[in-house]
Symmetry: none
Subunit: 137 residues, 2 copies
């Protein structure tokens, strides 16, 4: 039983928030505020950068998006989904990405956490390497 039950205040529906929502709906992976802003600008739905940040913060506060920190320290966001997550094998050089399922790793992480009495467990795992094409070049 969690104690934090903020009754998610009502917010006004605006064009900008709808636009951010749309992008989040279409985006499977974590996305940074900067990327989201660039995407919106590219598709013509201009939304101020500050507004993107504020909207994401609000969504995060309401528990409607997950927030992580990328390796570079950038905050990245993703629509909260309860579905099984997957990991990524990313090319360091060209960014080519392969999605990876690792049920064994999930179980391992869970059991390690259990052994130490940690509850409410989540984890992050990314694999980096050089893809065949970049290795050949």
């Amino acid at each position: 039983m969690t104690v934090r039950e903020q009754p998610a205040k009502e917010h006004r529906r605006t064009r900008q928030r709808a636009a951010v929502d749309d992008v989040l709906d279409e985006t499977e992976d974590f996305i940074s505020a900067q990327e989201l802003h660039a995407l919106l600008r590219a598709r013509g739905a201009g939304v101020g950068l500050a507004t993107v940040y504020r909207t994401l913060q609000t969504l995060a506060d309401d528990g409607r998006v997950d927030v992580l920190r990328s390796d570079a320290g950038e905050a990245v966001y993703r629509r909260c989904v309860r579905e099984e997550h997957h990991h990524h094998l990313v090319c360091r050089s060209c960014g080519a990405t392969v999605e990876i399922a690792g049920p064994a790793v999930e179980r391992w992480a869970k059991s390690v956490a259990d052994q130490h009495g940690y509850s409410d467990v989540s984890h992050t795992l990314e694999i980096f390497g050089t893809c065949p094409r970049c290795a050949a070049a």
Copy 2:
């Protein structure tokens, strides 16, 4: 945690690096570069901020300190307890950290990368949860 396979180059021994080392030795928890810099200044052993950053980066590259990202996105450092590559089980609430060795995961990551032809492989893996003490509170 990120895997690195750089063969720890030799570095010169300087007053500044010794000072940073001392602080790390005395510090149980993760500490930010800014905090470390302030500490050094406070105790009279003035070390430039850029130098603190460089020293920590070097130590991290050599695998002699662990690097994490605080919730605020700040990079935080701690003397490595284990020599080999390892991961962390971190309490979301209080930051309590347990170091984890996962040889099976290392092998798994390697084999997944191999299957897709990726070379020069590294990976990051962190487990987050609520530690027993915070869960009780």
